[in-house]
């Protein structure tokens, strides 16, 4: 596994310093290897820090704090977009982003990872050329290379994104004022997050997507709750259609012509129709690599490409493209490369979606439980039944536990509402430890907390279990697609 030839030698070279790259580099350094990270931006962190995970979540937090006046019911009535100082919210984001970037940079420095500022491309399977901003080039060799170059918003050919009137999920963060109205093309995670946050801030948001409901990969009850809250904020979801033409009238309105003949008019339009891998300029062919039909780098369960010493991790290998999963992919890739036991592969990973209300999920949903196990018992706890929900004024959410048909084995948990992305970890650890549903009944939870919802939901299952002749086998439940990215690197070689 050693690299011969010219250029400075490293045991490990990582291209990209986002969640996957950073964890890969730190893992390599902690294993005593000489590690270099190549980053095209001046600061470390990648799109996750600058334009993705961190800023969008920080915006959400700022929006919730700014607008949510739950202690004074009715106080949010009549909030107009112009009342919200979006510029101030965005500046708050900058502070959060800078702080996180600095933290990541210090972590790399502390582990003596060599940071190289520039754009990398392959000269051969073991050689990289790093072109600095001033055009100068530096050649390096590495025994192991990890590609973690991330992704960027997809720009569909039929929509001209000018970053002024028609925005993508990067440029929407440059808003200096809130538009009165916004059309969002897309029904996925990014579309739903921005749509719900901006609707909460008073913008008249219309989502348009081919899917009949947003976040279709989630439990139906969860998305129905999300949709109800979104509509209560003034949002609108137009499913089963798409925009085939988008144009700015030159005056102040963006028009989106839909496939059903309708035309939507709004001040701004956000295109959130997926992301594409950042692979241009890498000269993958020089490394003997190629993209698959989905435009991502194919890897095996250890994130290894067809070149045994080259790995890829994070968005660049496709779904689930979640920061947390990317970090683990980066770490496991380097463990595999250097023969370090990575620990048991994660059986499952949680999904956290920073919409308003927050959504989180782990394990399988009801329809999948029916499909796999022939039936399911489901227990629910509404947040308005939990004291903490009443105290906080966050009463619209719920927690749903999915158990096998006997109501004993926990299969999944789904939460929508305040604190969902934190709350889900309780279920995750219960699933990892193979705890029975009754563990939530037999153990004591702090009171008052949202975690009490676990106990309430488990008691609901216990009650249904007692009425075994009335199992909650909802025959009408639609089958959900298989969960993505719960094991290792998610995308297996040759998998579509």
């Amino acid at each position: 596994m050693s690299a011969a030839g010219g250029g400075e030698h490293f045991d490990l070279a990582v291209i990209g310093s986002g969640p996957a790259g950073q964890k890969a580099a730190v893992q390599g350094a902690k294993a005593g290897r000489r590690v270099a990270v190549v980053e095209r931006d001046a600061a470390v962190g990648g799109a996750c820090v600058r334009r993705g995970t961190i800023p969008s979540k920080a915006l959400r937090e700022a929006a919730v704090r700014r607008v949510d006046r739950r202690f004074w019911p009715g106080a949010t009535d009549g909030i107009a977009p112009e009342d919200v100082e979006i510029g101030r919210l965005m500046r708050q984001l900058d502070r959060v982003v800078d702080a996180h970037s600095l933290y990541m940079q210090r972590q790399l420095d502390r582990n003596e990872v060599v940071r190289l500022h520039g754009k990398a491309r392959f000269a051969s399977p073991h050689e990289l050329i790093v072109r600095a901003r001033d055009g100068s080039e530096r050649r390096l060799r590495a025994d192991v290379i990890v590609i973690a170059t991330g992704s960027r918003p997809r720009a569909p050919s039929h929509v001209a994104i000018d970053h002024e009137n028609v925005l993508d999920s990067d440029s929407i963060l440059s808003l200096t004022y809130l538009p009165r109205s916004l059309t969002v093309l897309g029904g996925g995670v990014i579309a739903s997050e921005y749509a719900s946050v901006l609707a909460k801030l008073g913008v008249a948001v219309t989502m348009v997507d081919e899917s009949d409901r947003p976040l279709r990969f989630l439990d139906r009850e969860v998305t129905e709750r999300f949709l109800a809250d979104f509509e209560a904020s003034g949002g609108r979801y137009l499913g089963s259609r798409r925009a085939h033409r988008v144009s700015f009238d030159g005056v102040g309105t963006v028009h989106a012509e839909l496939t059903d003949g309708d035309t939507l008019a709004s001040d701004k339009l956000l295109v959130a129709l997926g992301r594409v891998a950042n692979v241009e300029g890498l000269d993958l062919a020089a490394a003997g690599l190629a993209l698959n039909e989905r435009g991502v780098i194919p890897v095996d369960a250890s994130c290894r490409t067809i070149q045994p010493h080259i790995y890829a991790a994070g968005d660049v290998i496709g779904p689930p493209a979640l920061a947390a999963t990317s970090m683990e992919q980066g770490r496991r890739a380097v463990c595999h490369a250097f023969g370090i036991p990575p620990g048991h592969p994660p059986e499952l990973s949680p999904i956290g979606i920073y919409t308003i209300p927050e959504i989180a999920s782990v394990g399988i949903d009801q329809s999948e439980a029916v499909r796999r196990h022939g039936g399911a018992l489901v227990g629910r706890a509404r947040f308005d039944e939990v004291a903490r929900g009443q105290i906080s004024g966050a009463t619209s959410g719920f927690l749903k536990l999915v158990a096998d048909a006997r109501g004993e084995r926990l299969l999944g948990a789904h939460v929508v509402g305040e604190g969902a992305t934190e709350l889900i970890h309780v279920a995750q650890m219960a699933l990892v430890a193979h705890l029975p549903v009754d563990a939530f009944i037999e153990n004591i939870f702090n009171f008052p907390t949202f975690a009490e919802a676990y106990r309430v939901a488990a008691l609901d299952i216990a009650g249904r279990r007692a009425r075994r002749d009335e199992p909650d086998l909802d025959a009408a439940v639609e089958r959900a697609p298989a969960r993505v990215g719960v094991r290792g690197c998610g995308t297996a070689l040759g998998e579509p």
């Binding site: 001046a42 901003r133 000018d162 970053h163 990067d170 440059s174 200096t176 030159g250 005056v251 102040g252």
Partner: protein, 305 residues
């Protein structure tokens, strides 16, 4: 982030240090220039400067375009009241920079073709130009100032697109970041006239370059220009002092404008400015901005013509 360096000799500085108001003149300045510099600097520091009023048309156009409810009818109605402004706008709208598919013959057509915001910005530039006049002998200097301002605005907008920064604010910041220059130009000429001396052209330019930022800041505050514009005027030359994106983008745009209207964007030295590194611009990024040169030049010609 490094400290901006001085521009190449013989070129108008992209941005000037915002807070430098020195009572003493440069060693190579003429005696007359030194005296005028001292007087003007003191007046700027104390705010005792005769600032021009924001031209009424400019004020209304600015208000109209800053309004979230801005619409074409209101803008057209405003412009209809000022025939000189309207005819200037029609000329600009027909300039190659805006590539009209057919001749633009009405203000409404111009607004539809260019957009409310662009027409508003052009109208603002034109009305400011007409409101900030100087002695006819210095009309050329003023034209050069406006051309540079317009080109800065054009490049700023493109840079903002590239950098995913606020596009709408960028043009205005670029356009107005040297709004203090006509003020200093006029004030310097008046002081020279009072003193009965003639200012050598180089000294006059040096005065304008040195003192325009504090003058612009006073003017922007007096005219209640948007905060982003005030920040661009005040800190464009020392953008490290602020977290706002506009001053840095304005500094970049001004640099590009200086070379576009001077030695050319292919000339050596363009990249010898820390703003390119501070914005992490790679050669291909700069090339993308340079590719907009024709459109930006057209805008500058139209605005300054």
């Amino acid at each position: 982030m490094s400290t901006p360096t001085a521009e190449a000799p013989g070129l108008a500085p992209a941005c000037e240090p915002a807070t430098v108001v020195r009572p003493s003149g440069p060693a190579d300045g003429s005696e007359a220039a030194t005296g005028i510099r001292t007087t003007l600097a003191e007046r700027l520091q104390s705010g005792d400067v005769d600032l021009p009023q924001l031209p009424e048309a400019a004020a209304e156009v600015l208000a109209a375009t800053q309004d979230v409810d801005a619409d074409a009818r209101r803008l057209v109605a405003l412009l209809d009241r000022d025939p000189a402004l309207a005819s200037h706008l029609l000329r600009v709208a027909n300039a190659p920079a805006y590539a009209p598919r057919s001749a633009i013959v009405s203000l409404r057509q111009a607004v539809t073709h260019l957009g409310v915001r662009t027409v508003g910005e052009l109208a603002l530039a034109a009305s400011l130009r007409s409101g900030l006049v100087v002695d006819a002998r210095h009309a050329g200097d003023l034209r050069a100032i406006w051309a540079h301002a317009a080109a800065s605005g054009g490049f700023a907008r493109e840079a903002a697109r590239l950098l995913r920064a606020p596009v709408e604010a960028a043009f205005l910041c670029g356009l107005l970041h040297t709004i203090g220059k006509p003020v200093v130009l006029r004030a310097s000429l008046e002081l020279a006239k009072e003193a009965g001396v003639a200012l050598p052209p180089d000294d006059l330019r040096a005065l304008v370059d040195e003192l325009h930022a504090p003058a612009g800041r006073l003017l922007a505050t007096s005219w209640k220009l948007p905060a982003a514009v005030v920040a661009a005027i005040a800190t464009c030359a020392a953008y490290q002092r602020t977290d706002e994106p506009e001053p840095m983008i304005t500094a970049l745009a001004a640099r590009l404008a200086t070379f576009l209207l001077g030695p050319g964007l292919e000339a050596d030295g363009l990249l010898d400015h820390p703003v390119f590194a501070d914005l992490n611009l790679y050669p291909e990024d700069v090339a993308g901005l340079v590719a907009k040169a024709d459109a930006v030049r057209g805008l500058a010609d139209a605005c300054a013509g």
